[in-house]
Symmetry: C2
Subunit: 317 residues, 2 copies
């Protein structure tokens, strides 16, 4: 066994039920998918210097690599179960690997997912995780499905992560407590698994915000040539008032890497959603409405509707 | 959309049934696993300059990246169905991507597997594929399960791929037709899917040969502290007689990257296996026997048993 095979010692743990009848250490894992459930599959790669600054801690990298995949399952209203880890590292650094493995296992335990396979190779640092989950047959919440008149809603406070990135890169200076909270949101996003599962009962369409609210909203709208009117005051309410209004609005509209859920619900479900929403869930906020006219507009209440520019979020670089 | 999102245009194809109810383009794919089947999961990463020489063609890289994963499913006696592709490339080179995509689709069609998700990122060239397959409940053929007295058998001619690598790197010079065949085996290994499925009826243990026959054999033996006696003449018969005997034996014992199946069968099943073996399958050869004594020995017929050294195969570099 070469040093890279040995790395597997950091990740191998006895499998723990959860449908896994054969875990790491054979040609493949063997898993029993619960009958009556659809299987969900997602994969995401994080590359050092592209998706995170090179100085990011091993723990934050590990957390994020799993969290972004958990978020994809959450955005379908699914329950995550099993994942594989393909880790490419420049060297077999025991301290780094031990921190990385501890952080992966910590989030895996928290989300009740099992590592069932992996591959470790030498090269520039990158992490690919493929995550499998399930959802009751035909109950997955897709990107397509919104109707004109549906309310547009969001969990948590999208925009914080990009403010965190701006703090790290020196593009902005914020109050130190706010800055720390934003950097934490960037490095340790919390996938909204419980929230996504609960929203299965209400949402007509759903996506997680990785590339910015406006850009990810376009994925909900484009298939059916729908539009949306965003409520400026609702958006501004999501982020701390100590931050300047322009910066707040910009972060909320275009900031990525938050992994909050963006979803639509029929107006008739709004009251029931709010009253049944659990106290330990991330809060949900109504931020706009779906329209039948192509295009995204911003309503500020005291003036005309203003078209919202499409603009991408480049994560890092 | 940035150039790397656009790369997805090379890979997106309408999904084609096969249990896929939602393919590429949402937060996750949605798949229906046939009832009564176990799910198999495997993942493998190929890194340029580590698993293949940098001069390798895009088509050969794509083929191999999928083939090595197909081989893992084959080694369980399973049927491959769905895969995700995480592709990291240094630049969005249209020609390269087009060749890569064509080769992936070609092998995917041949093996009847569907691409259900992917992620394309910028960085040093590496490819991670996660492949899902199925096998009837509890019928997966594991590495563990051999019994003393079982026959040790192999598909095809392990050793050719490493001879091909030696030809490419200039470590050896072979007759040009033989050299071409060996390089083809290195670059375009044929996963033994149909053979693996047929062996589900006979094999007590099975693995695919990626790290060399001796090393992969140790995985079949180690769990139960078994040993094996290898038949030197049978091993020599696998590779063209024009190649020197020592070189032939060395390649067969230690050469990796062949993705042939190594498996054990009870002696009582040998005749039935041979008589039922289909003409279009890769041939199978009996190369030895499992013993109850730890260690691997080589029998040459005309002398004493000689211990076989454990030695790894380093793929490339």
């Amino acid at each position: 066994l070469d040093e890279f095979s040995l790395i597997n010692k950091f990740f191998a743990r006895p499998h723990d039920g959860n449908g896994v009848s054969l875990g790491i250490g054979d040609d493949t894992a063997i898993i029993q998918v619960p009958p009556g459930e659809d299987l969900l599959v997602t994969t995401d790669t994080l590359v050092s210097g592209v998706h995170f600054p090179e100085a990011t801690s091993a723990a934050a990298i590990a957390h994020k690599a799993l969290a972004v995949n958990l978020s994809d399952i959450a955005a379908m209203g699914g329950i995550p179960h099993w994942f594989t880890l393909a880790l490419t590292v420049p060297a077999a650094d025991e301290n780094w690997l031990s921190d990385f493995a501890a952080a992966i296992h910590r989030l895996a335990d928290q989300a009740a997912v099992s590592l069932v396979g992996g591959d470790t190779t030498r090269g520039d640092l990158s992490i690919t995780i493929t995550l499998l989950g399930t959802v009751p047959r035909d109950r997955g919440v897709k990107r397509r499905g919104a109707e004109p008149g549906d309310l547009l809603m969001v969990t948590g406070s999208p925009g914080l992560a990009s403010l965190g990135l701006d703090c790290i890169t020196g593009n902005t200076v914020l109050d130190s407590a706010i800055s720390a909270a934003c950097v934490d949101k960037l490095e340790y996003p919390e996938p909204r698994i419980a929230e996504g599962r609960a929203l299965r009962e209400y949402a007509t369409s759903m996506i997680d915000i990785s590339d910015g609210l406006v850009q990810d909203l376009s994925h909900l709208l484009e298939a059916d040539k729908l539009g949306a009117i965003l409520d400026k005051n609702a958006l501004l309410s999501l982020v701390d008032r100590q931050i300047a209004e322009d910066q707040r609005l910009d972060a909320t509209l275009y900031g990525g890497d938050d992994y909050e859920l963006l979803f639509t619900v029929p107006a008739t479900h709004y009251t029931k959603l709010n009253s049944s929403w659990k106290k330990d869930f991330a809060p949900v906020t109504r931020i706009g409405e779906i329209t039948s006219t192509d295009g995204v507009l911003l309503a500020s209440g005291d003036s005309d509707l203003v078209p919202v520019n499409q603009r991408g979020y480049r994560h890092f670089i």
